[in-house]
Each structure stands twice: as structure tokens, then as C-alpha cells.
């Protein structure tokens, strides 16, 4: 069993015992999402978004596979084949709008999931590997979404592909050959479209594989919770099924209502009008912008406008843009505070709500705006804060902060906190994660 309070599977019927002895699939399901996975009982709605992200991926895979049956990855007819789907394929308009808006919904859900992790310290021991695998999933998603956006072969598809692969040309000496190698030519063309289609079909399944690892790694320490306090025993948990399957079902309903509103009543709201113009290598759109979910990173890329110490501005921008994601891989070690939940970290909480969140919102806005003042200056200030937040402020905050007293256990915090005794905390490292290792927790006396 993965952790001490996990339940053993006991088949209820002879048939299930027969299957389980030969292929322990019932056991796997029971321990993954059934009664065998005890989950902290105090999770709030932010914990719905992991399951929703999985649902979003499944929706993308199903709609994508059906769309691929009518789509043609050929520069001459790709755009027309998309219009064929929209006009002549049965429910083709629904599939395409669901797939296009599904990508947006996937990113909405994943961004909330990531910020949940940032606020509640889900990246901290013993869950670092879950965080790292999550970032790998995020990178795979971004690559998949970028290549998917190229497939309709509209103006933004073409020029987006041109600009994004052009980022690699900023690398000295080997940059230009890398761009040619990625595109299969000097400019985006049939070769680009075909390889992007191939990879766009492949990467979701790679993502699925990493998600299995992500969930597997989650099942070793078990889910975190809003207090950040470790599970002490059975009284702190409820079985995943039926408690969280029910709650996730409700969450899925809300997700689908928002999703359906987009598909049926505002299907092009998040898109760009220029992508309904067929790709034309001879006509550059006035403003080339990526999809909204890349705007924060696009703002960081464009914030670097001046060469520095013989490093060209473009290269600095590219390095910073990738660095903005890469630094998240080091987060478990950049923030050494032993307290996980932001609720008990007064200083961290201030920087999170009044620093990081406005900063990311400003970056998102500027990334979608044209590259002119005041947007460039705003994105320079916001980018500077973004790097300062993770690389300078977080490490310093964990050193000087005096966290609030933590509740003794999850069940106490759930039951009004009446029995909670203030545990003095904040002398810096009196409570280390070592004390929270599962197995050292006292088992409930029943």
C-alpha cells in the first residue's frame, strides 16, 4: 500500500475476486479513485480542478480524433477542409468549436490548478515530484496548443508559427539552422503543417502518460489540503468515492455549463478574427498575437527591448520567456518555508494577492495588446516583479516571516477549531517536513 492510512482492497463479489487475482484492475481503480484512496475531508473547491483538467484533456482527445477524420493537413486545402467541417460534416461545427474552446477551458482549469498549488504550497515536500511532473504536463500542453493553432492554416496560424519558431533563431550561430529544422524549410509550409499535425496528434497521449505519473506520484503522500497540515489518521479523511466523486461531479457540471456557454453562444469570443483569413505568406497581419493563454509569456518576451552587455534584446526576451517557466521547476527549493498553506503565512499571502496575481493579470493584458506604450513599460514593470517574486521575494519571505499557529489536525480545524491549541511556530524551522512523514503520524484509536 502506498501510504499507511490507505485501505486494502477486499473484493465484494466472487467475480471481482476472480478478476483481481488474475489482473488487479479492480484494485487499481479502487486505490486510485475509489474507496481505497482516503482524501483529506476539508478540501475546498480549488481541489476540483485536477479532475477537471483530466476531463478537459479527455474532451480534447475525443473531439480531436473525430476532427482528424475530416481534416486535411495540406497547405493548399487545410483551410478549406476546416470550412468543410464547419459547413458539411455532421455536427462538425460543434466538434470544431468544442475543440477550439476546449483548449481555452483546459488552460483556464490548469492555470487555476497551478495557482492553487502556488498558494497552498503543493510544491513542497513531500510533493515536489508531483509539482515537477505537473510542469512537464504544462509544457507539453503549451506545445500541443501552439501546434494545434497552426492547423487551421489561417493568417494567425501561419504568422504565429513563423514568430514562435523564429524565437529559436535568436540563439547565436545554431539558431537559424534550428528554425529551419523545426519548420522543415525557410518559412512555414506543407512540411511544417504535416509535422505539426503529426505531433499535435502524438503529444496529447504523451501528456496522458505523464498525467498517469502525476497521479501516481500524488497517491504516494496523498492529497494536500487547505490547512497544509498532514493527515494524522482516519478521522481526517473521507474515501475518494463517494465523497469526492460526488463533489467532482458537481464541479464537472459547472465546468460544462461555462464550456457550453462558450461553444454555443460565443464560439469565437476567445479567437482572433484574422484566423478566418487563409494563410498568406505575402501579407503580414497588423498585430500578430498568440492565443490568450500565451499572453503573459508573450508580454515577457516583448518586455526586453534593449541589448545588454552584447546580448541582443531578442535573445534576452527568449531566455526570459522560457526562464519564466523553468524557474517554476526550482520552486520547491526557492521557497523553503515549512508551512505549506498560504493561509498561515501572513507575509507570503500579501505578496501573493497584491503582487503575483496583479502582476500576472497585467502581463496577460499587455501580451494581448499591441507593442506600443504604455503596454511595453507596463509589461517591463510586471515582468521585473514576476522574476523578483519567485527568485528574490519568496526566498526572503520564508526567512523573515513568522507564520500563524497551525491547527493540530485537519479534523480539529474542520470541527470549528475548538480543540485547537495554538502551537507556537515561527522560530524558523521548528517544524520541519521530517515530522510530517506519513507513518510517524499517530493512528486513530478506534
Amino acid at each position: 500500500m502506498s501510504f499507511p492510512w490507505a485501505k486494502h482492497y477486499a473484493p465484494k463479489s466472487p467475480f471481482m475476486r476472480y478478476v483481481d487475482e488474475r489482473l488487479p484492475l479492480p484494485r487499481l481503480v479502487y486505490n486510485a479513485v475509489g474507496g481505497g484512496y482516503p482524501v483529506p475531508r476539508n478540501l475546498n473547491y480549488f481541489w476540483n480542478f485536477g479532475v477537471l483538467a483530466g476531463a478537459a484533456l479527455m474532451i480534447q482527445i475525443v473531439t480531436g480524433i473525430v476532427l482528424a477524420m475530416s481534416y486535411r493537413a495540406d497547405g493548399g486545402i487545410a483551410f478549406a477542409s476546416v470550412e468543410h467541417i464547419m459547413r458539411d460534416v455532421n455536427a462538425g461545427w460543434f466538434l470544431r468549436y468544442a475543440h477550439a474552446n476546449g483548449a481555452s477551458m483546459f488552460f483556464v482549469v490548469v492555470y487555476i490548478h497551478i495557482f492553487r498549488g502556488l498558494f497552498y504550497g503543493s510544491y513542497k515536500p513531500p510533493r515536489e515530484v508531483i509539482w515537477l511532473l505537473g510542469l512537464v504536463i504544462f509544457l507539453l500542453m503549451m506545445a500541443t496548443a501552439f501546434m494545434g493553432y497552426v492547423l487551421p492554416w489561417g493568417q494567425m496560424s501561419f504568422w504565429g508559427a513563423s514568430v514562435i519558431t523564429g524565437l529559436f533563431s535568436a540563439i547565436p550561430i545554431i539558431g537559424a539552422p534550428i528554425q529551419t529544422w523545426l519548420l522543415g524549410g525557410a518559412v512555414p509550409d506543407n512540411a511544417t503543417l504535416n509535422r505539426f499535425f503529426s505531433l499535435h496528434y502524438l503529444l496529447p497521449f504523451v501528456t496522458l502518460g505523464v498525467i498517469i505519473l502525476h497521479v501516481w506520484a500524488l497517491h504516494i503522500p496523498g492529497s494536500s489540503n487547505p490547512t497544509g497540515v498532514d493527515v494524522k489518521g482516519e478521522q481526517d479523511t473521507v474515501p475518494f468515492h463517494p465523497y469526492y466523486t460526488a463533489k467532482d461531479g458537481f464541479g464537472l457540471g459547472i465546468f460544462l455549463i461555462v464550456f457550453a456557454t462558450l461553444i454555443f453562444f460565443a464560439p469565437n469570443f476567445l479567437g482572433h478574427a484574422d484566423n478566418y483569413i487563409e494563410a498568406n505568406p505575402l501579407s503580414t497581419p497588423a498585430h500578430i498575437v498568440p492565443e490568450w493563454y500565451f499572453w503573459p509569456f508573450y508580454a515577457i518576451l516583448r518586455a526586453f527591448t534593449v541589448d545588454f552587455l552584447f546580448i541582443p534584446a531578442k535573445l534576452l526576451g527568449v531566455l526570459a520567456m522560457f526562464g519564466a517557466i523553468i524557474l517554476l521547476f526550482f520552486l520547491p527549493w526557492l521557497d523553503p518555508s515549512p508551512v505549506r498553506s498560504g493561509h498561515y503565512r501572513p507575509l507570503f499571502k500579501k505578496f501573493f494577492w497584491f503582487g503575483l496575481i496583479p502582476c500576472v493579470l497585467v502581463l496577460s493584458y499587455c501580451g494581448g495588446a499591441p507593442a506600443e506604450e504604455p503596454y511595453v513599460m507596463l509589461s517591463q514593470i510586471a515582468s521585473a516583479y514576476y522574476f523578483a517574486h519567485f527568485l528574490i521575494i519568496l526566498p526572503l519571505v520564508s526567512m523573515v516571516e513568522r507564520p500563524l499557529p497551525l491547527p493540530n489536525s485537519i479534523s480539529e480545524s474542520v470541527l470549528h477549531g475548538e480543540k485547537t491549541e495554538s502551537r507556537p511556530f515561527g522560530t524558523g524551522g521548528t517544524l520541519t517536513s521530517g515530522q510530517m512523514i506519513p507513518g510517524t503520524s499517530p493512528q486513530p484509536a478506534e
Binding site: 460544462l256 478566418y276 511595453v376
Partner: protein, 290 residues
């Protein structure tokens, strides 16, 4: 160690960004961005109401048919409609026989080959054909239009921001260049072969005003054909050509919404009833209670 390197890298990036910010600020102060005629005189599309707007919107069939008449008699001589087929016109209220007649009598014939010699030829269109392009190819289109290609109109209202209002505003927006513009930007005088239109991105459009006089089209249903009415009707028609499944989408959308609301309500009560025995006097939010 990670934190030390991190702080070093972070400080470096912040430094470079502040340096960029400073240079940008100095540049703005020294040479403020020059105002352009496009920036000062460009107008956003005017507001216009259509029956297909809103979540309950349905097309006005009569209006679409009038819009089709405007397309046929005015736009079609230069603009193609290559993703729409004659048979699609049945969706806006034409009968099968009417569609056949429209296709057969369409002034531009469909490109084909002579069945005996194999040479390029044209033939009368069938209901299953898409609208034939007024030009044989791109070169011909450029040659006939002073090197500007008239864009295909099938997706026009989705390919422009606020498309239906944009098409309407553009068609009714032709005017003399304002005196103020010529005074402030003497270099921005509309060139030969161009026409001033504040709704067009660079203010000067190659297309000559297509709708100039009332009753340019005589509507079969007796609606007075003012320029404003014709512009509105053809915008509605082009909304349909860009999004022919709009009505189905709205209908399916309401069915889906009603289903999802019931589904979500049931899951909410299921969730509440399953959790009934687990919730304390007050749900733990994780917020500090002490």
C-alpha cells in the same frame, strides 16, 4: 545554493528590465510617438441591430433573401463566395426549384472541361456547385482591380472584428476626406484610385462605393431599398454565409443548457446528501481559526 543562484539571476533580470524601462521612458520623453492619421481618424464600427444576435437569435429569412439579392446584383461582380454552394440557399427560404434556377441563370459559369476535347470550358452551374468566382484566377483578379484582390466574402463577417457591424459601417461610411485631416496630416491625402472611408483600417480603401443610390436594387418584397437598408441586408446575408449553422447552434445550445442545469442541480443535491454526515457545525475552510 539554488536560492543564491536564483537571487543572482533574478537581480540580473530585474536590472535588465529596469534598464529597458528607463531607455523606453527616455525615448518616449525625447521623441513622443508621432500621431498618425490612421490613429486619429479611424472609427470603430457603428452599432447596428440584427435579428440573429443574442442567445435566442434567429436569422430574418426575408432580410437574408434581400441581402442575397444585393450580393447577386452588386457584390458578385467582384467578390467570390467560394465556401457557399447554391444548394445552401435552401436554408434561407428558397425552394429547390428556385435554387436550380438561380444556379442555372448565374451570370458567371462554373469552370469545367469540354467533355469531347478536354479543353478548358465553362458550363451552367448546378445546385450542388459552389458559387463560381468572378475571376479565373488571382492574376486576373489583380489585373481587373488595380492590383488589389477583392477578398472572398464567405467568411468576411468572421474575419473582421465585429464583422456584421463592420461590413455595414464600411458600406455606409464613404465620405469626403475631412478638412481637419488634410490640415493636420497634409501627407495623408487619399491617393488616386482610393476612396476615403474612416471604418477601413488605413482610411483609404481601393473598393469604389458599391451602394450609391437608393433603389439600386429593386427588392422583390417591396422593402424600400435605401442605401442603409441594402447595407444592413447584405451584412446579414454575409453573417449567414460565414456562420450558416448559427440557428442550429443556438437551438442545440438551449437544449444543452437545460440538460446541464438539471444535471448540475442533481449532482449538487447528490453531493450535499453524500456529505451530510461529514460536515461539522461549520465547514473547515483551512483559514486560521485561532
Amino acid at each position: 545554493m539554488v536560492r543564491l543562484i536564483g537571487m543572482f539571476v533574478g537581480a540580473g533580470l530585474v536590472l535588465v528590465l529596469l534598464w529597458s524601462l528607463l531607455s523606453g521612458a527616455i525615448a518616449v520623453v525625447r521623441e513622443p510617438a508621432a500621431e498618425t492619421a490612421e490613429h486619429a481618424f479611424h472609427l470603430y464600427p457603428r452599432k447596428v441591430d440584427f435579428a440573429h444576435e443574442g442567445p435566442l437569435g434567429r436569422f430574418d429569412r426575408q432580410q437574408l433573401q434581400r441581402g442575397f439579392q444585393v450580393y447577386k446584383e452588386v457584390c458578385a461582380s467582384c467578390h467570390s463566395l467560394k465556401y457557399v454552394a447554391f444548394r445552401d440557399l435552401e436554408q434561407i427560404g428558397f425552394s429547390k426549384a428556385e435554387v436550380k434556377a438561380i444556379a442555372r441563370d448565374w451570370p458567371i459559369e462554373t469552370q469545367s472541361v469540354n467533355p469531347e476535347t478536354g479543353e478548358a470550358a465553362t458550363r451552367k452551374s448546378l445546385a450542388a456547385d459552389r458559387f463560381p468566382s468572378p475571376y479565373a484566377n488571382e492574376v486576373a483578379a489583380r489585373a481587373a482591380n488595380n492590383n488589389a484582390i477583392p477578398p472572398d466574402q464567405s467568411l468576411l463577417t468572421k474575419a473582421r472584428h465585429d464583422g456584421p457591424a463592420y461590413v455595414y459601417s464600411l458600406l455606409t461610411g464613404y465620405q469626403r476626406q475631412p478638412e481637419k485631416l488634410l490640415r493636420e496630416f497634409p501627407d495623408s491625402k487619399t491617393g488616386p484610385g482610393l476612396h476615403y472611408n474612416p471604418y477601413f483600417a488605413n482610411l483609404n480603401i481601393a473598393m469604389a462605393p458599391p451602394l450609391t443610390t437608393p433603389n439600386q436594387v429593386s427588392y422583390a418584397d417591396g422593402t424600400p431599398a435605401t442605401v442603409d437598408q441594402m447595407a444592413k441586408d447584405v451584412s446579414a446575408f454575409l453573417t449567414w454565409t460565414a456562420e450558416p449553422k448559427l440557428e442550429t447552434r443556438h437551438q442545440v445550445g438551449w437544449a444543452a443548457m437545460i440538460f446541464l442545469l438539471i444535471f448540475t442541480t442533481i449532482t449538487y443535491f447528490a453531493y450535499q446528501s453524500i456529505w451530510a454526515d461529514k460536515k461539522g457545525p461549520k465547514r473547515g475552510s483551512g483559514k486560521p481559526t485561532a
